[in-house]
């Protein structure tokens, strides 16, 4: 698969600070890409450059292998910003038609696609309702539909699940998988790490305008693993002290051990087998993205910067 998007040394300065400072990465077509970072890390600025709302001060942006041209490429992008909304007084059907036509679809195309999506999401009866009559979850669904209905190659979703109940969140999640399977690329920006772990193939972590982490979810977890294992057993071990590992946590039939330098999990297992216990479970504890996130961001000046950015 080729790269749908390539960023090379992208920079964007504001009067007082570098919002995006020399960021490079690439996104493969059809992947679900997670853009993570604390508030004020520069995610929104980065996304606004990718959507053509802002122009980078320097650096290159390649879309589908060619230099990004917002004037023409906007039809291939669907953007659902974090600060999103709809015209409150406008009828839902008309609103969807308007947004679809702004994305370059003709009237008949718009109508056809809106009908398809409304049917899919069971929203057909909403056509003549006004947005102000919708609940937050309902308008979120509408927002999602208007973001994807022109079948963009690149879909950018900033906190897409905020305000959705689990049922609707699953509905959207399934759609995201479906869209990715049909070849769309999804950039997914959020603070909710458990969603990222579940959905994303590839992630980037930004802090203070810089990229501080880049890789697949599995790679990143491997990179930050602390060689901790969870052991569940039956029986009474004779001795539980060894240079192979350090015990981090001990319960009656459970152990969390950290393997010391120079040893592997097999050493631990070997040792335990000799202790005359029945091993029921033995698995590696990988750090959650949440832990990694906190570990990397904590201690930086991220919070003060987030404050300044507002």
């Amino acid at each position: 698969m080729h790269n749908i998007l390539e960023l090379k040394n992208l920079q964007k300065h504001y009067a007082t600070q570098k919002a995006v400072d020399d960021v490079s990465f690439s996104i493969k077509q059809g992947s679900i890409f997670g853009l993570l970072g604390p508030n004020g890390a520069g995610k929104t600025t980065l996304l606004r450059m990718i959507t053509g709302i802002f122009y980078p001060d320097s650096g290159d942006l390649l879309f589908d292998g060619k230099p990004f041209d917002p004037q023409n490429d906007f039809v291939h992008i669907g953007y659902m910003p974090e600060e999103r909304g709809l015209y409150k007084k406008m009828k839902i059907g008309e609103q969807a038609m308007y947004l679809a036509q702004l994305k370059g679809l003709s009237k008949s195309e718009s109508l056809e696609k809106i009908k398809y999506w409304f049917k899919k999401f069971e929203m057909e009866s909403w056509w003549n309702k006004k947005v102000e009559d919708l609940s937050k979850g309902m308008s979120q669904k509408l927002q999602f539909v208007t973001t994807v209905l022109h079948e963009p190659k690149l879909i950018i979703l900033d906190e897409p699940f905020s305000g959705l109940d689990p049922l609707n969140a699953n509905l959207i999640k399934d759609e995201i998988y479906g869209l990715a399977q049909r070849g769309s690329t999804i950039i997914f920006s959020t603070h909710r790490m458990e969603q990222v772990e579940e959905i994303c193939d590839h992630i980037i972590l930004m802090n203070l305008g810089k990229k501080i982490l880049d890789g697949t979810v599995t790679d990143v977890k491997q990179q930050f693993k602390e060689n901790k294992f969870n052991v569940q057993f039956k029986g009474q071990p004779t001795e539980l002290a060894s240079p192979i590992f350090t015990i981090e946590h001990q319960e009656k039939q459970q152990l969390i051990v950290k393997i010391n330098e120079g040893y592997t999990s097999n050493h631990v297992l070997n040792y335990l087998l000799q202790q005359d216990v029945l091993i029921e479970r033995f698995n590696e504890i990988l750090p959650s993205l949440n832990d990694i996130f906190i570990h990397l961001v904590e201690g930086s000046k991220a919070t003060t910067r987030a404050f300044q950015n507002n």
Partner: protein, 445 residues
């Protein structure tokens, strides 16, 4: 271009489809018209067969006031004292009485002639009675001085008045200047109102987009500049439609005048054109003045005035709408913030209004010339000068220069406003000052 059209047509449709639009565009003028019509109706209402008893103690009129045969006011001479007359009034034998006391002196007007009616008179009735009596008295007085009515008329003839002409030989008549004054004032004032009403409409539209958080969604498919222009065009079209409807309504309702007020219509029939139905109705007092107004109106170059009005309406609107949009983009949820940011925009409009009131009096003063050339004030001030005509009020060169400057001004404010708008519309939760807006406009970002 297609996107500007899409945005504009949405702005237009959502506004025109609102009930408040119909109400304010059609309902309000009809309501106002109805209100005025009612007022005029009660004012000009005449009572038929208004019976006036005349008790002529000093035998001034010899049994008749004049030769007019009117069914509206009937004078009948009786011989009675005030007490008896009051009684007749109370018995409703007569609606009013005129008492000319014994020994009435024509020259000094003493002792005073008394007119008493059972209830307050309508405007028209009062005018008719007053005119007839004072005309009759005037004639008597002249006769006493040995001057005939004919002699007096020839002495009063209009054409021996001083002839005012301008240097190019044109007649400069007083009513025309007066009418130009009124037309200039009204046109200038209308533009003043348009700038405010539709300017704030644009500002509120931008604020709505920002507050409802749709701006960023839209801006990912439309350039901020296109969004701003679309909004300005759309609301401008609403304004234009509203004005056309109002003009049609005014002319349409005017056709109703003869039906509703046959008297007023009769007064107006001799006039060449019939503008300003309401103004005419209150001016019926003296049909001579009315005809003067009509003649004055006929001399105004309405093609020029209306053409200029449309140009300055659109030019002024576009120029200021961009500024209002910029302010709207900088404001957050709190409408209070808008007030302080609006002040610098409202200043030139109000300033223009002040210059305009001077310019209608003296269209060629330095202040008027400056005001009509400076783009921020020209839409209002130039209307005052144009009403005086070309080249009396304004020279062709000045008019063209003013129009060109207005177009430049429009391009200038739009360019500046677009830069503020682009930054402001995506800025949340921060109170913006003019200093910052200045930075957005003139620093590259």
């Amino acid at each position: 271009m297609n996107k500007i059209y899409l945005v504009a047509s949405r702005e237009f449709k959502t506004r025109v489809q609102k009930k408040t639009f119909l109400l304010s565009t059609i309902g309000l003028p009809i309501l106002i018209f109805g209100f005025y019509a009612l007022m005029i109706y009660f004012q000009v209402k005449t009572t038929d067969n208004f019976k006036v008893a005349v008790s002529d103690q000093s035998k001034l009129f010899n049994g008749k006031i004049d030769d007019k045969k009117s069914t509206e006011v009937i004078f009948s001479f009786i011989d009675a004292d005030t007490a008896a007359l009051n009684k007749k009034l109370n018995n409703q034998e007569y609606d009013a009485y005129l008492f000319i006391p014994n020994g009435y002196n024509l020259q000094s007007g003493e002792p005073q002639i008394a007119f008493r009616s059972s209830k307050a008179l309508g405007l028209m009735t009062r005018e008719k009675i007053e005119n007839r009596i004072s005309n009759a008295l005037e004639e008597k007085k002249l006769l006493a001085l040995n001057i005939s009515k004919g002699q007096l008329d020839s002495a009063r003839l209009e054409n021996n008045a001083i002839s005012f002409t301008t240097n190019d030989g044109k007649k400069d008549n007083e009513t025309k200047v007066g009418i130009s004054y009124a037309v200039g004032m009204i046109a200038g004032f209308l533009i003043y109102i348009i700038l405010f009403v539709y300017g704030t409409m644009v500002m509120r539209g931008v604020m709505e987009e920002k507050v409802s958080r749709i701006a960023e969604v839209i801006v990912s498919s439309v350039k901020p500049f296109e969004l701003m222009l679309g909004k300005i065009f759309g609301i401008g079209a609403v304004g234009l439609i509203q004005f056309i409807i109002w003009i049609v309504l005014v002319f349409g309702l005017q056709l109703l005048i003869p039906v509703l007020f046959p008297d007023v219509a009769a007064q107006m029939q001799s006039a060449p054109i019939q503008p300003g139905a309401m103004g005419a109705a209150t001016a019926v007092k003296e049909s001579g003045a009315l005809q003067g107004i009509m003649a004055g109106l006929a001399e105004i170059n309405f093609t020029l005035v209306i053409g200029c009005f449309v140009f300055y309406f659109l030019g002024g609107y576009f120029m200021y709408a961009a500024l209002f949009a910029a302010v709207g983009s900088a404001v957050n949820e709190d409408p209070q913030d808008a007030q302080s940011l609006l002040l610098p925009i409202m200043m030139p409009i109000i300033f223009a209004m002040v210059i305009m009131t001077k310019a209608v009096n003296d269209p060629n003063s330095t202040l008027a010339i400056f005001g009509s050339l400076f783009p921020l004030t020209s839409p209002i001030v130039m209307m005052a000068r144009v009403a005086h005509g070309v080249p009396d009020g304004v020279t062709v060169v000045q008019l063209i220069a003013s129009m060109a400057l207005l177009v430049l001004g429009f391009l200038g404010t739009t360019w500046v406003a677009a830069k503020i708008y682009r930054t402001g519309i995506l800025m949340y939760g921060k109170k913006v000052t003019w200093k910052e807006m200045w930075k957005w406009a003139f620093k590259n970002n």
